[in-house]
Symmetry: C2
Subunit: 221 residues, 2 copies
Amino acid sequence: MRIDLSRDVLAGNDSTAEANQRALADAGVLCVGLLSSPGAGKTTLLEATADAWGDASRLAVIVGDVATEADADRLRDKGIPSIQINTQHHGATCHLTAESVTVALAQLDLDSTDLLFVENVGNLVCPVGFRLGEHRRVVLISVAEGADKPIKYPKAILETDLALVTKTDLAPYVDVSLESLTHSIRQVKPNAEILGLSTKTGDGMAEWVSWLRELKAGSVA
Amino acid sequence: MRIDLSRDVLAGNDSTAEANQRALADAGVLCVGLLSSPGAGKTTLLEATADAWGDASRLAVIVGDVATEADADRLRDKGIPSIQINTQHHGATCHLTAESVTVALAQLDLDSTDLLFVENVGNLVCPVGFRLGEHRRVVLISVAEGADKPIKYPKAILETDLALVTKTDLAPYVDVSLESLTHSIRQVKPNAEILGLSTKTGDGMAEWVSWLRELKAGSVA
């Protein structure tokens, strides 16, 4: 397996991503992409977001995984319309492509959707270069991963719009805090927008939902 | 970027990996590969292993990262000869290749090495298909990642020889335990070899070092 960084492939993906983004904006749907390591809490965040949003049926999720339908099942249990893409049946296993999102979009009722999340495969490297049509991209970094991850995976910080520091309730047990992660995120990107949250305690959830509502109220989509 | 799963590329990597493995066996060096998500504790495990092994200078590490020399610096501080490979300067960013390991081997003094670790890029997907010349491969899964990761990334379990459940000291705070992870690992691979450990408390370190010493005493290399 070799990564072919040919400009043609990336340009093809980018133009499909732009078409997805236009189609979503035309339908009045705000699209937010989520990237992270495996186990940083993307699906749990979406479950908590559904509770905080009020009407879960106005959200939708396209979720990518190497295998299983587990995440989409969890989200459907919360009342969120969800499409699972198993990447092992596609050419690229380690990330979603704009084309796979186009296929998934056709299965969603965009007219009754306010906010669409695209939850990528758990991977801090491969998904970064592939725009999918998101209006904003969010990277999640759990305090349990250590304070050095932003520096070791800098593109995941540089090419996203918000860094969400998750599992802040674990900070006392791992010698990593929102402050130490903020420090290393800003070493990579001095003006980074950063929020900390814990779905367990609820800390930071209000700020996250405000961030989403402000985007939605603005002119993005 | 498209993953080209062509048989030629994989076969070329495999034959280079076999040559690495033979060269290491000829030099009497046992080679153990480490795979995991970002932040599962690979480098911290190697620091603790150096302390437990007795003579850190008899160990060596080849460490892959997208960016930075940080991990090799940490390991050199422990007295372990270490070579850092920055994958962003190679064709494939998201995993090491057998060829990159061949280049690194030439920079190590194999005659004074008992045990060589190859620490891959933090990524549970891409490194799995690329043998590097290891005699054994170990996957680390932190309890903080959640009990479902073995099921969502099954090849990382199926194509490795030992599953190390790390950060077991965090189990009380994350509602995931060695037992629940063992359960999901065995769903993927019923006869999986599994060890749990915490470098913070030292629990399980003796079993891990015994596993290494038994391999070394055996006929593997």
